[in-house]
Symmetry: C2
Subunit: 255 residues, 2 copies
DNA sequence: TAGTGGTCTAGACCACTTT
DNA sequence: AAGTGGTCTAGACCACTAT
């Protein structure tokens, strides 16, 4: 129990065998180093004396936690590079994150509907613009984002932002919107088959979803956004206070 | 694809059968209402024509996403009440969250060690105090927290805070520490067997882990904290901006 | 005691990548 | 063609809860 990165808490009680397998594979990852191929699942099963389903339960957890990179048809590898950091602060969003690359894939008008009307404080029959983009860097897709803005508020909003340009930039610069504040809610979800195909993951993998409602300087909501981040490749970062510091980019151990 | 809560994105492509099962069970949850017992897994398997392992893959995702509450030996139920909200803001932490209840279970001195010394900007041979508590409300444990503070900084810190009293309160009021700021990093992890027993969950369930480094008004780090939140019962909330608003406590749909 | 969810096995077939 | 990871099956035994 000496390792502070593990919280200082010892593991005890009955250890399920998939958890034993997980620890074995994690030790292997640390020994082999980044990018190195792991033994195949069937071989690891033989070595550990467990069924493949059992081994995969542990393996999948390590994928989620960013230690293993499984590629169908190719093999499993010790995951490379530290996870990308994504700042949750809105005010300096574009400055800090590793997701500045945006590809807009959807721009369409539609009726708001009950739930969205409520979130945006508009009428059910009012329209909204639905924008969708995939975000990432270095050609890797790390997030899928859906935004809804009230048509009434931005009547001349008729085409998607330029590639790599954020919706906030567009609203601020082109439509003189003054940012007031936002609420964000973070949850664990599992990606749908469609999202999985956009992200290049599997629907069995959990991701971090952030729901955001933003309002302008007068307190009127101007957007509702849902961002799905890949849990295995991203760490969400949050800064409180103003002292000048760099963000650490550490890798934390399994517990 | 009309439902904005689902992000407006349609599902297409090949749907795995565990995902079909998941959608079936989710529809069942909405139809039955909170607290109602679901059919047993074996019965659902018969109805859907899938193996139990396949059904459980979908069922487990719904547990993680807060829709289903599985109790060993008893059955599975539509999860009650909305998820608890936990504010990530440090400055008004005690005001907003649903985790004000704290039970301190660990208080001990130990050498810092390499990794922790680096995080706290102290020497490897310096000592730290390790505090651990379980947090929650209404008798339900929702988080496990481990904190490390440098002994040198608080030499008269010799006993744990009173029950339900936060470490920040203790440091601010008893030791006149002035809070400067903090970094927080959020990731998805799987709880260990020991943590599972403290939280009352299973080690197969993912949780949200927040690593926090805090510093005082002079910029000196005074704590490193690791908090593990139950992913199935908690939503992390983050507020940007100062306009007075209540936090919405919504429940978002599966995608 | 019977039924439930939690874990595990030993196979199978598929899509995919590599050779 | 061979090997890999992804999905799925039809069982089994366990710990636990309700009765």
């Amino acid at each position: 129990m000496a390792d502070p990165a593990r919280g200082g808490v010892p593991d005890d009680g009955d250890i399920p065998s998939y958890y034993r397998a997980k620890r074995h594979i994690l030790a292997l990852c640390k020994k082999l180093g980044e990018g190195v191929a792991l033994p195949s699942e069937r071989l690891l099963c033989d070595q550990l004396g467990v069924a493949r389903a059992t081994l995969r339960q542990g393996m999948l957890q390590l994928v989620i936690e960013g230690w293993v990179d499984s590629r169908q048809g190719s093999g499993s590898f010790v995951a490379k590079r530290p996870k990308v950091s994504q700042c949750l602060c809105l005010t300096n969003e574009s400055a800090q994150d590793g997701l500045s690359g945006r590809t807009w894939i959807t721009f369409e008008r539609r009726p708001a509907g009950c739930e969205l009307a409520h979130k945006l404080c508009i009428d059910q029959n009012d329209h909204v613009i639905h924008l969708e983009c995939v975000r990432g860097s270095d050609g890797e897709v790390l997030a899928v984002e859906s935004a809804f803005v009230p048509t009434k508020r931005f009547p001349r909003f008729s085409r998607p932002p330029a590639q790599n340009r954020s919706l906030h930039d567009e609203l601020k610069n082109r439509f003189k919107m003054l940012f007031g504040g936002a609420d964000q809610r973070m949850d664990i979800v599992h990606v749908s088959p469609r999202e999985a195909s956009l992200l290049g993951t599997l629907p069995a993998l959990p991701g971090l979803v952030v729901h955001r409602t933003s309002w302008d300087a007068r307190g009127e909501p101007f957007e509702w956004v849902r961002t799905l981040y890949r849990g295995d490749r991203l760490t969400l970062v949050n800064r409180v206070g103003s002292i000048e510091r760099g963000f650490a980019n550490e890798r934390h151990d399994l517990r």
